[in-house]
């Protein structure tokens, strides 16, 4: 009797702790949603209460007056092209490192591992110089290339660990059938690697969507801004009220959050990809 009572109370305690942590995770986004449906006056009066008469005015003003609609278009365009390019680069290189034998493999792969750690700020100043010499400042091509350069080493590492696990017989069979390099890659290897490809796609897309330093550096014309850059700069430029800022936050987070709900398994796989062993 007492042991079962004790077991029940520990269970209850565990649930309470977990619920507290869950609430801590959820509250910021709930606060943003709640505030975004209020007008400025109502928010100032009471920051905690639910909106008495929910309004979408903040969203309208954020999308049109503060040009978030434009920023969203920019972000979707750059991130989707960037992610595609990134997936190609990572799967090409991952296939080479994971399946092919060549001189210098270890050296170059170690370089990849080494370079993936550095923060944007270690390279920002010189990246800016190089980009301006190549005429890449204030262009989408520029931000896409630099995003790919910055995120691809980690993606390559993940793809490599995946390709290492695929038996080489598959490749040899394809060769005996006379498949050339790109047929080996596109009709044999990439279909096998599809789940991991989806995972690095999500990692890359999220990374680019939420990236700030390079966007600040490369996209200085207002009409080129990304959503995250918009949020980071708007407060200083306009002194946004909290309800307006909340609406902006939700506009920016809407697509990543929807992706998370749909592709949860890929996302959770991505969190562990390439680094869980033993």
């Amino acid at each position: 009797m007492t042991t079962s009572y004790r077991r029940l109370s520990t269970r209850l305690l565990i649930y309470i702790i977990l619920v507290v942590f869950a609430l801590l995770s959820l509250y910021p986004i709930f606060f943003a949603l709640n505030s975004s449906l209020k007008n400025d006056y109502e928010y100032t009066n009471d920051k905690l209460a639910l909106p008495s008469s929910p309004t979408l005015d903040q969203y309208e003003s954020v999308l049109i007056n503060y040009r978030m609609l434009r920023y969203m278009g920019n972000t979707i365009l750059s991130v989707s092209i960037g992610t595609l390019l990134y997936m190609l680069i990572c799967s090409f290189a991952g296939f080479a490192f994971g399946q092919l034998r060549f001189r210098g493999r270890l050296l170059v792969f170690t370089l990849v591992l080494f370079l993936q750690i550095f923060p944007q700020m270690v390279i920002a100043s010189q990246v800016y110089q190089i980009a301006s010499k190549l005429g890449l400042l204030n262009t989408r091509t520029g931000i896409i290339l630099v995003w790919c350069a910055y995120f691809a080493p980690f993606g390559t590492y993940i793809m490599t660990t995946y390709f290492v696990g695929i038996p080489r017989e598959l490749l040899e069979a394809a060769r005996i059938d006379g498949a050339g390099l790109f047929r080996q890659l596109f009709s044999v290897m990439l279909p096998v690697a599809k789940p991991m490809l989806g995972t690095i796609g999500i990692i890359g897309a999220l990374g680019m969507w939420n990236e700030l330093p390079f966007a600040l550096l490369f996209l200085q014309k207002q009409e080129l801004r990304t959503l995250i850059q918009g949020i980071a700069l708007m407060q200083g430029e306009y002194g946004l009220t909290v309800p307006t800022m909340s609406a902006a936050v939700l506009v920016s987070a809407f697509i990543p959050l929807s992706l998370f709900v749909v592709f949860q398994n890929h996302v959770t796989m991505g969190a562990t990809a390439g680094s869980v062993k033993g």
Binding site: V112, A232, G278
Partner: protein, 298 residues
């Protein structure tokens, strides 16, 4: 026969280089050359335009008298002190979830949610939540805390650093840590747990004697990742949460490079900061590479 094999190897080598070429070019142009040229620029006086003027090691001696530099080191020291908590907490939660609690997948996803929002949004939201005119102060006043306004969490150096550490090192990494450790624990042989049960071991004993040793690689790797986050992934959060303030209280090396180089236009001096940051990151990278090699050999 032998010649044929050799031929296929060389063509494989050519194929491999073709495939890694895009990655290699991007990496060299946008990471390797910039990283290396920092060493040169750190010995110059340079505003970002015009010709850099060579001044030897003067930027480095300036570092040693710069209050901001020591403030950055202090902030990072504080952040590192939070790493043990940031590792232990998700490890314990993962061990609890592993016991097959109802709804664990749901909890796992909820805890991961902040990672989707990203540092800029989180920093912006928390700067509002903790502000002098924010909901936290309103809540505290409403339950009768006197002078709640004077708490000013982000406005005082001490509390600002603690808040930043708790948010970035503990809270934000919780969801990722749970998923990560749960995956690692999935590989533990159940017979260990059965044996522990037969020995009459309690939950904590089982945790420290079975779970922790079994996932020791994951713990080491996760700790290295935490160091990477602290040294190399904090800029966006600081930018949107505290802007480095109050004063220089929440400067890190990364944030210092930005403020000095891009707001203060002392690109040469900022490069000296970047070199120091490079050295820290290089050490962490080498530790990480060794760890990966060790796991491959095992």
């Amino acid at each position: 026969m032998n010649g044929n094999r050799k031929k296929s190897l060389t063509s494989e080598g050519r194929d491999a280089w073709i495939l890694i070429l895009p990655l290699l070019v991007l990496m060299i142009v946008f990471i390797l050359i910039p990283v290396m040229s920092n060493f040169y620029y750190s010995m110059t006086k340079w505003k970002g335009i015009g010709t850099p003027e060579f001044i030897g090691l003067r930027n480095y001696s300036k570092l040693l008298t710069d209050e901001r530099f020591f403030s950055a080191l202090k902030t990072m020291g504080t952040l590192i002190l939070y790493i043990p908590l940031g590792v232990l907490l998700p490890l314990i939660i993962a061990a609890i979830l592993r016991d097959g609690l109802k709804g664990w997948k749901f909890f796992r996803s909820i805890l991961f949610l902040p990672n989707i929002l990203g540092a800029v949004i989180l920093g912006t939201l928390f700067s509002v939540l903790f502000s002098q005119v924010g909901p936290l102060i309103q809540f505290l006043s409403s339950i009768g805390v006197e002078d709640a306004v004077r708490i000013n969490l982000l406005g005082k150096s001490r509390t600002a650093i603690q808040i930043l550490s708790l948010l970035f090192v503990v809270w934000l990494r919780l969801g990722f840590g749970c998923i990560y450790f749960l995956a690692a624990m999935g590989g533990i042989d159940n017979s260990y747990y059965d044996a522990a049960k037969i020995d009459g071991a309690g939950w904590w004993q089982t945790f420290f004697r079975v779970t922790v040793p079994s996932v020791s690689f994951a713990i080491q790797f996760f700790t290295v990742l935490a160091f990477i986050e602290v040294f190399a992934r904090m800029y966006s959060m600081i930018f949107s949460l505290t802007g480095g303030g109050p004063g220089y209280a929440t400067y890190t090396l990364e944030f210092g490079v930005y403020r000095i180089g891009f707001i203060g236009f002392q690109r040469g001096y900022a490069s000296a900061w970047a070199v120091v940051l490079f050295l820290f990151c290089a050490i962490i990278a080498l530790v990480q590479i060794r760890l990966i090699r060790k796991s491959e050999a095992a």
